[in-house]
C-alpha cells in the first residue's frame, strides 16, 4: 500500500515546481489556465518523443496525476491505436484512453457545481 509513495512525492512535487516557476518568471502573462494547457500539450509531446514514459516508471502517480500525465495518456493512446487500427486510431486513441477521466471530470464537476454554493 505504501509502495512508490516517496518517488510519487518527489516526481510530482518537481513537476509542480516547473509550473510554479513558469508562473512566477512570466508574471502576469501565465495564468493557471496557461499552465494547465501547456502541461497537457507538453506531456503529450514528451510522450511522443519517448521521454515521459521513463518518468511514469520512476514516479508512478507523481507523473500521472499532474496534468502532464493527462497529455501522456492522450498521446500514448493515440500511438497505440495507430499501431492497431492505422490512421483512424490517431483520432480515436487519445480520447478513448482518457474517456474515464474526461467523463469523471464532466460528471463530478457538474454534480458539485449544482450541489454547492460559492463561498464568500
Amino acid at each position: 500500500m505504501f509502495n512508490m509513495i516517496i518517488p510519487a512525492f518527489i516526481v510530482g512535487g518537481s513537476i509542480c515546481v516547473i509550473g510554479q516557476l513558469l508562473m512566477d518568471l512570466t508574471k502576469p502573462k501565465f495564468t493557471p489556465a496557461h499552465v494547465l494547457v501547456s502541461f497537457v500539450t507538453g506531456g503529450a509531446i514528451l510522450t511522443a518523443m519517448g521521454l515521459y514514459e521513463p518518468l511514469v516508471k520512476i514516479g508512478g502517480a507523481g507523473a500521472t496525476i499532474p496534468l502532464s500525465g493527462f497529455g501522456y495518456s492522450l498521446a500514448k493512446g493515440a500511438m497505440e491505436a495507430v499501431g492497431e487500427r492505422g490512421v483512424i486510431g490517431a483520432f480515436s486513441g487519445g480520447v478513448e484512453a482518457t474517456a474515464v477521466g474526461i467523463a469523471a471530470a464532466v460528471f463530478f464537476g457538474y454534480l458539485m457545481s449544482v450541489a454547492f454554493k460559492p463561498k464568500g
Binding site: 505504501f2 513537476i15 515546481v17 510554479q20 500525465g69 463530478f108 457545481s113 454547492f116
Partner: protein, 155 residues
C-alpha cells in the same frame, strides 16, 4: 508658484539611483517560498494519488485500470473539496502545487461553474464548466491527433 517654495533636494538622486533605491525597498520576490510550497503541496497530492492507486491494485485491478480509477477518484476529491470551499485554501498556500495535479483541473471546472450558477443551468453551469477545461481538451486532444499522425507516417 509652489515649485519655488520647495527646498532644493539635499541629495542628488539620479533616475538610476532612484531605481536602485526603490529596488532596495521592494519586497524580495517570494520565488523560494513559492517553489518550496508548490513542491510540498504537489508532492503530497501525488502521494495521496499513489496510495489510492495502490488500493485499487490491491483490490485486483490491473496497473493501467488502477491508474485510470485513481485519476477519476482524485478528480472527484478535487471537485468535492472545491464545492466545500477547502480547495481555495489549499490553492492559496500551494500555488502551482494545487493547480498542476488533476485535482486542480477539477477545481478549474467546478469553481467557475458554481460561480455562474445564477446565469442558469445551460449557459451558466453547463458552459462555465469548460472555461478552462475547454482549452485543455482542445489543445490536449489536438496534440494527441498530431502525435498519432506523426507516429503513423514514421512507421
Amino acid at each position: 508658484m509652489a515649485d519655488n517654495n520647495l527646498r532644493k533636494p539635499t541629495i542628488s538622486v539620479t533616475p538610476e539611483n532612484y531605481k536602485a533605491l526603490t529596488q532596495q525597498f521592494t519586497p524580495k520576490p517570494t520565488f523560494v517560498k513559492n517553489v518550496v510550497r508548490a513542491f510540498v503541496v504537489g508532492g503530497i497530492i501525488c502521494a495521496i494519488g499513489q496510495v489510492i492507486i495502490n488500493l485499487f491494485i490491491a483490490s485486483g485491478l490491473s496497473r493501467v485500470e488502477a491508474s485510470t480509477a485513481g485519476t477519476a477518484t482524485m478528480i472527484f476529491i478535487g471537485a468535492l473539496l472545491t464545492g466545500l470551499g477547502v480547495y481555495d485554501v489549499i490553492g492559496k498556500f500551494g500555488g502551482a502545487g494545487s493547480i498542476v495535479p488533476v485535482t486542480g483541473f477539477a477545481n478549474s471546472i467546478v469553481a467557475p461553474a458554481m460561480e455562474f450558477k445564477r446565469e442558469g443551468y445551460v449557459l451558466g453551469v453547463g458552459a462555465k464548466l469548460f472555461t478552462i477545461a475547454g482549452p485543455v481538451l482542445v489543445y490536449g486532444i489536438a496534440t494527441s491527433i498530431v502525435v498519432g499522425f506523426v507516429y503513423y507516417f514514421l512507421n
